[in-house]
Symmetry: C2
Subunit: 346 residues, 2 copies
Amino acid sequence: MSPATQASRSRATIRDVAALAGVGTKTVSRVINDEGNVSPAMRERVRSAVVALNFQPHQGAGALRRGDQKTRTVGLLLDAVDNPFSATINRAVEAVASRHGTAVFAASSEDDPERERTLVDVFTRRRVDGLLLTMIGQDHGYLQAEREQGTPLVFLDRPPVGLLADAVLTDNHAAAVTATRHLVAAGHRRIAHIGDERRIATARERRRGFVDAVAEAGPGVLATHVDDLRSEAEAEAAVRRLLDLAEPPTALFTAQNLVTIGALRALHGTGRQHEVALVGFDDLPLAGLLQPGVTVMAQDPARIGTLAAERLFDRLAGSTGPEETLVVPATLVVRGSGEIPAPPGR
Amino acid sequence: MSPATQASRSRATIRDVAALAGVGTKTVSRVINDEGNVSPAMRERVRSAVVALNFQPHQGAGALRRGDQKTRTVGLLLDAVDNPFSATINRAVEAVASRHGTAVFAASSEDDPERERTLVDVFTRRRVDGLLLTMIGQDHGYLQAEREQGTPLVFLDRPPVGLLADAVLTDNHAAAVTATRHLVAAGHRRIAHIGDERRIATARERRRGFVDAVAEAGPGVLATHVDDLRSEAEAEAAVRRLLDLAEPPTALFTAQNLVTIGALRALHGTGRQHEVALVGFDDLPLAGLLQPGVTVMAQDPARIGTLAAERLFDRLAGSTGPEETLVVPATLVVRGSGEIPAPPGR
DNA sequence: CCGCAGCGTGACAACGGTGTCATGCGTTGT
DNA sequence: ACAACGCATGACACCGTTGTCACGCTGCGG
């Protein structure tokens, strides 16, 4: 009645149910797990005792005794659960997990290697059945021990380093090459790569793709680089500085979603959005409604999440094939900003 | 070595550690829990055995035995983890939980009452220490039983129905009134309310705020309603139909983020974005870069998540004050679309 | 020199369930 | 009629850990 009524009755146990129904605990166990070999009369008595006491079996206790040791829980390590890319993965993983009666621990590493290790520990101490990982750390060797102890691992979005494991990735190099070629094809000769933190494997791959595509275009094309941008605000400031140069780039390749947003703020803030071309990595919800529309290399985070989760549950079901890396295609979505031609000029 | 090397060694237990260190299990327990009253020599022996075996204590087993029964886990029920509003809440909750050494189960109800109940069951079977809930169902009475068994409850974004509980909410009615008045003040006399599903409490409140503000404006103002839009695409189609009317509304109040996006697609798709005013509920990442900028009533999901989580941990720490509803203010962000004046006319 | 407090240590039971196995009963086959 | 079997049921140990308690040892005061 009063708010202080916490823990008034404590939670019912299987013994309480057994006592109320006048049966042994094992019979209750059989009923709640639908094991069969229980007479209809018993089943009914147990059922009503369960309802009367509002009994909920204690998963953890069951898992402890059960041989298979399944907690029906998986850990999902993301850079940040509120980044739209990661959030989409989260949702996809949840959908697959849910079909397997499994709950998901999602956590944000904030791209901090120390926090990342802590979170893996948090997961393993809770005995998750499997791990889905977006890693920042330089060496994932310590995860080998986890896998040897029976916890399957699937890497998401970024490849494993220092161990062999399943992974689901975008081909970031190829996608960056395509994006950059698109700008070169529009005639641009001064192109800037605006990038995320180089500690992140995908950022390095995208950068490498950009560099390769520029090299392939020949000596007439000049590249500028800004790297290690940690936020929208940093990206905006960096692009504003670029635009102030005497010979500013005529095209931008913005290599991550938050960076793209920052760059767009800079372009629109200075009114030069129709003048400087832009291709972004990752799609944005309103990209098509801006003037000009934002051309992007769109990854498919839902598919990445789905495939990774399915792989994990395959492993949990006993699949023992070799480790595989699945590559999910990215698509160039043409909307206008990437097709702005280079200004005529010497 | 080979991929089939799964579960080669099984996980070390406290007994294995004790055996290797040549001590009793209780001593190992004391060391890993920093309980004191262990000689330095022992501590060292145990420590190195722990490292040698890569021992990780089994949280669940410990929680089982420990009196307090804390699993250091909370459940967070959202409509969809990939909705930006919910994702921001998720992140804020995670930050608070993390400070309390607690992991978060986040799950998407998809606004389906049945799934919602299932997920609450999933949480309670795993003995979460507390629940943070965004509920769709019409009666939350069944949660009373949970609370009586010692699980604190905090409602997020939507109020509890059928029981008294802590809640952290936006004042949706007041915010909708403010948003609607803003359109009336710009001279509009034909205003449409484009709304989310009416099963959702917040959608009803926003609708009510709209209706009240229109009534307050006097008989000269005509309101149209479209409700129960379940997606961006439905919202876009609905707005396109409205715009095709002989006397279309001159201003739109779009009462949820996905609905706003759909409406924007319709306006920009028909080229009428400078002609029809719009105020949206919930902020959008690129809202300031569209032409015109999108005026919104911005909620503060990060604050909602933070306050709710803090409240939950207060309760877990034993706070027994009366249930409270905290109201988080929303702010009108003026960017252009809401200030388009009504066309002059008869 | 003895008693007692305090510390370090480990044996044991218990947390809430489930696997294993034994038991008692009714049924069936010969 | 009796063995053999299958089914329903419950006693009991056990999953991995920690609370409780008892024990032995050291050091100190009387």
